[in-house]
C-alpha cells in the first residue's frame, strides 16, 4: 500500500503521527509532499522518525510554487497511491474539519474517487481509484 501525506504546515505533527500510527501499516511506502509554503520538512520528520518509530519507507517531494492540483493527482496516479492524507488545520464553529482550496480541488476532481474518512487530525482519502 502507498500513502501520500500532504504537508501543509510544519505544525502538522499530530496529523502525521495519527496517519502513521493508525492508518499506515509497517512496511508500507509513504510519500511526504510538502506545499511550497512549507520550507523544510527536516525537523518535523526528525521529530516523528517515520522509519524507526513506524517502520515505513518514505520519500519527500515538494509541489512547485505555481502548482496545480492536477500535478498532485498525476503523482498519485503514477505512484499508485491508495491513500491521500490531509492534515486538519482548523475546524468550523460546528466542529467540522475545515476544507481549504487544495482539499476542495482534490475532493471535486473528476479523476479520483474513493472513501473519505475524517479522523481527529487528518482527512483520509482511501481505497482510491483513478479515472485516467
Amino acid at each position: 500500500m502507498t500513502t501520500i501525506i500532504l504537508v501543509k504546515t510544519v505544525e502538522q505533527e499530530p496529523s502525521i503521527r495519527e496517519t502513521l500510527g493508525s492508518v499506515v501499516e509497517d512496511g508500507e511506502t509513504v510519500h511526504f509532499i510538502r506545499l511550497p509554503s512549507v520550507r523544510c520538512l527536516g525537523p518535523l520528520l526528525q521529530a516523528v522518525n517515520p522509519m524507526i518509530s513506524y517502520g515505513v519507507d518514505y520519500t519527500i517531494r515538494s509541489l512547485p510554487t505555481d502548482y496545480d492540483v492536477s500535478e498532485l493527482i498525476d503523482f498519485a496516479i503514477e505512484s499508485g497511491a491508495d491513500r491521500i492524507c490531509i492534515g486538519i488545520d482548523d475546524r468550523t464553529v460546528s466542529g467540522k474539519a475545515r476544507i481549504d482550496d487544495l482539499t476542495q480541488s482534490i475532493l471535486l476532481h473528476d479523476a479520483i474517487s474513493g472513501d473519505v474518512v475524517v479522523g481527529d487530525c487528518t482527512i483520509i482519502l482511501e481505497n482510491l481509484s483513478y479515472d485516467t
Binding site: T92, G95, R98, L108, S113, V118
Partner: protein, 226 residues
C-alpha cells in the same frame, strides 16, 4: 455518511430579503412543506437590524405571500415568518433533495448562503457539488465531518426550533458554558462558582439565569404555570 458545509452566492428568497430597504442580518429556512403545484410553504427565521412590519415586507418582497409573521420573545429584531413562494426561490433546497442529499441548514447572509447537508459518500458529494455549481456558478466547501446517522434534517430539530427565541443570548451563553464544562454531568465536573468565574458574572447572576432557562424549558413542556 458525510456531512458537509458549503457556501454559494445568495439566490432566490435570500437575495430578495437582502434587496429590501430594511437591513437584514440573516435569513434561515427552518422548514419547507410542499404546496399544490410548483409552490412551497417556507418557515423562516429572519434577523433584522431594526423592527420591521409585515406590511413593509409584503410590499417589498415580490413573488411571495407572507402568511404569518411573529416576533421572537427575547430578541426584538428576530421574526418568524411563514411564506408561500415558488419552489424556484429555494433552488438550493430542491437541488439537494432532487440529488438525494439531506439538507440540514440553509442560512442566508449578506453575499452568500451557508448550507449544511449530508451525502452518502465521496461520489455523492461530487454529484451534488456538480449540480450546485452548474446552477450557481461556484461553490466553496467549508467543512466536513463523518456521521453514522442522518441527524436532524431541515425542520427536524423540534426542540431547537421550539426554544429558538425563547432564551436570551445571556441565558444561552450560561446554558452552553455550563453544559460544555460538565455542570449537568453526574457527578458534576464543575462547580457553579467555576462557571460564574469563567463567565465573569456573580454566582447569584448565574443561578438566576439558569433558573430562568429551566423555567422556560418547563413552560415549553408543561405550558404556563397556573
Amino acid at each position: 455518511m458525510l456531512r458537509f458545509e458549503f457556501q454559494i452566492g445568495t439566490a432566490g428568497i435570500s437575495s430578495k430579503f437582502f434587496d429590501i430597504e430594511e437591513e437584514v442580518g440573516s435569513i434561515e429556512i427552518d422548514n419547507a412543506l410542499p404546496v399544490a403545484g410548483n409552490t412551497v410553504f417556507l418557515f423562516l427565521t429572519a434577523q433584522f437590524e431594526a423592527e420591521v412590519s409585515k406590511e413593509s415586507l409584503s410590499r417589498q418582497l415580490s413573488g411571495m405571500e407572507i402568511v404569518d409573521m411573529a416576533r421572537a420573545e427575547t430578541k426584538r429584531c428576530t421574526y418568524y415568518l411563514g411564506v408561500i413562494t415558488e419552489l424556484s426561490n429555494v433552488s438550493v433546497l430542491s437541488m439537494l433533495t432532487s440529488n438525494r442529499a439531506i439538507p440540514h441548514r440553509i442560512v442566508g447572509h449578506y453575499g452568500h448562503l451557508d448550507v449544511v447537508a449530508s451525502v452518502q459518500d465521496w461520489n455523492h458529494l461530487k454529484d451534488v457539488a456538480e449540480t450546485v455549481e452548474a446552477e450557481h456558478g461556484s461553490l466553496e466547501l467549508i467543512g466536513t465531518t463523518q456521521t453514522e446517522n442522518i441527524g436532524f434534517p431541515l425542520g427536524g430539530n423540534k426542540i431547537k426550533q421550539s426554544m429558538s427565541g425563547k432564551l436570551s443570548d445571556e441565558q444561552l451563553e450560561v446554558l452552553e458554558t455550563a453544559y460544555q464544562m460538565g455542570y449537568f454531568k453526574v457527578p458534576q465536573e464543575v462547580t457553579a462558582e467555576e462557571i460564574a468565574s469563567e463567565l465573569d458574572i456573580s454566582r447569584s447572576t448565574l443561578s438566576e439565569r439558569l433558573r430562568r432557562v429551566e423555567h422556560n424549558f418547563c413552560e415549553l413542556l408543561f405550558g404556563p404555570r397556573k
